[in-house]
């Protein structure tokens, strides 16, 4: 992918922001590389991790922020409040941190129902309590009717990283096993079906969940975690592509090993979506030394969020450095590429 490795900022092909600039694909990468990363450039940001890792007098802190603009605000398996807490907890967890404190900034649209706001705030508090973190600071703004979709939430979070933990794309090694903790594509499809008012026999529920407890269990089990990535926007494929690019290793995954719920797969077929690129909110990829594969799987299977944990692939030592390949059921191997932006439903 030569266009992502250029050191000079790329000229943008757009005069205005389009939705694809937020879609987790190639256009978003270009926007980040050419404007945001290029301007803010510093050694911590440039590591491009889910959380910044800060060394303060010998204590390592993970620090992250995320904004939540999901539509609809309430969906099967969660709501924007639960999402805003779990998403930020997960970003902290992926750097190996134990989350401690969160902030909550609300941008509320004029006319928004107080009862809905209460429900969202309660949902945030419940998720925070379950994770044993406190929401300790925040901000509230109200914008004109029509200037927002009900409510937008930003959360930031800090957590503490044990001194012997070192988790980053740079730690990925040839031979590492790649494990995911659950089935993929549930969140994106649940949202899509709810948004379009499409009903299946049983509702598909989002996988929205706080992964920090599960990650702490792995750390307690002495798993030598090389890298973790939560597979949110852009799905499994985009997450792994970013890691392959950052680590300059070849990642190979097996199509037949990927856990996908049957109804999610059916919905993807009907809508013309590739589940590999659909967002998750409670699913992450774990890189561990091959020798620890079984131990890691046992530890994952013990936790409710890891019951469907599966070994999906390995880091290979081939000439295809920086690429992710998918071995299909028929034995053919193909390269997974970042999509341009969000997937668009097909005509037929």
């Amino acid at each position: 992918m030569p266009d992502l490795e250029l050191s000079c900022p790329l000229p943008l092909q757009y005069d205005q922001i389009v939705m694809a600039h937020g879609g987790g694909g190639r256009l978003m990468q270009q926007l980040l590389d050419s404007i945001i990363q290029a301007t803010f450039s510093n050694p911590i940001l440039n590591q491009k991790q889910d959380s910044a890792v800060l060394d303060i007098n010998g204590t390592r802190l993970a620090f992250t922020t995320d904004s939540y603009v999901v539509k609809p605000l309430f969906f099967p398996g969660g709501d924007i409040g639960k999402l805003a807490v779990c998403g930020t907890l997960n970003d902290l967890a992926m750097s190996g941190a134990k989350p401690l404190y969160l902030s909550c900034a609300l941008i509320i649209e004029e006319g928004f129902a107080i009862k809905d706001l209460k429900r969202i705030i309660q949902s945030m508090q419940q998720a925070a309590q379950q994770a044993c973190v406190m929401i300790v600071t925040g901000d509230t703004k109200v914008v004109d009717y029509g200037s927002g979709d009900g409510v937008y939430i930003n959360t930031a979070g800090i957590g503490i990283i044990d001194e012997n933990i070192n988790v980053s794309p740079a730690c990925i090694q040839v031979g590492d096993s790649i494990i995911i903790n659950s089935d993929i594509a549930r969140h994106g499809i649940a949202i899509m079906l709810e948004r379009e008012g499409m009903n299946f026999e049983h509702a598909i529920t989002s996988d929205c969940a706080d992964l920090s407890g599960l990650v702490q269990d792995l750390i307690q089990a002495d798993i030598d975690i090389h890298c973790m990535r939560d597979l949110t926007r852009g799905g499994l494929a985009s997450g792994l592509i970013e890691l392959a690019t950052a680590s300059k290793h070849h990642i190979e995954i097996n199509e037949t090993a990927l856990p996908i719920q049957q109804d999610v797969n059916s919905a993807c077929e009907i809508l013309g979506f590739d589940p590999l690129y659909i967002a998750n909110e409670g699913c992450f990829a774990l890189f561990v030394p091959e020798a620890q594969t079984e131990t890691a799987l046992v530890a994952l299977h013990r936790h409710p969020l890891g019951q469907k944990a599966s070994l999906i692939g390995h880091v290979k030592s081939t000439h295809q450095k920086g690429l992710v390949t998918l071995k299909t059921a028929t034995g053919i191997s193909r390269v997974l590429d970042l999509l341009s932006g969000e997937q668009l439903p097909r005509i037929c």
Binding site: V18, L344, C348
Partner: protein, 364 residues
Amino acid sequence: MKYLDEYRDPKTVKKLVASIKNITTQPWHIMEVCGGQTHSIIKYGIDQLLPEEINLIHGPGCPVCVTPLAYIDKALAIAAQPDVIFCSFGDMLRVPGSHLDLLKLKAQGADIRIVYSPVDAVNLAQQNPDKQVVFFGVGFETTAPTTALTAYQAKQLDLKNFSLLICHVRVPPIMQALLNSPNHQVQGFLGAGHVCSIMGYREYVPISAQYKIPIVITGFEPVDILHGIYLCIKQLEEKRHQVENQYSRVVKEQGNQPAQRVMQQVFKVVDRSWRGLGEIKASGLALADEYEPWNAEQRFAVATINTQEPSDCRSGEILQGLIKPSQCPEFGKRCTPEKPLGATMVSSEGACAAYYRYRRYQNA
């Protein structure tokens, strides 16, 4: 998943590949007509499983790819007008017009919405009586019936604030046009399964007879496509040429007759320009005269927009099977999914986009 897993079964795939190898004695050029088949072939690597003698030519059956530039410009001109809600299928939004695409126009504030069914557009018109709601009807005979039903519904409801921009196209005339072209290499066709689920396959019998060419109506899963190729090669090797139906679990000889009836009622057959291929006789569907009040081209006075294609895109040669996408000098260089020169790079079913997504690193 029922009806899918068995058609992706690796053992069946291997068996079919072996059968194809067994019966192939010489080079054959086979065209898959439909873009959905092209996408499957590249995604599952079916062409890499086949014996070297078999060359698959990627046909013109991607509705997004063949929609002429003039119609994209008409869509943009309508969608840019105030108080218009412009509804389209998702993958049309990224197709570049002369200066803009619908996604960029949306970013400038136009009310452009993705719908899964044109009936959603009728609902929008009823919910927004003070807006003009326009549906962009593109595609082959597969999507044409739902557009027809929508026009029929709008007429029944006497909806004044709803209209349709229609650029539907028909498969048989384009197959004939390809066979009439002096440069074509096609020796057999995999017919478009979904189109035939609507239209049946009787209209292909005279084409097969006139051009002495096998036409195998084929589905979209790896097992379907390989089975279709097997049946086609078998005909070629045995010097037969007839219409065969591989996709019999979906396609019946007479097709879907209620769908055909509503299409006959609402549409008339017209000549139509195809992106990269030029004008083809009787290859398009337009609203019949009694549906003229719902014709968006008239309502928004865009009928005279007649943009010509830029000359540096070679999608015409690709759609005719004369070159493979990777043989185009602009492929992956000046022409990428972010900045496509032509529509075959835009749609997920376009041959260039499929090659870009799945084959770009082939020799990396």
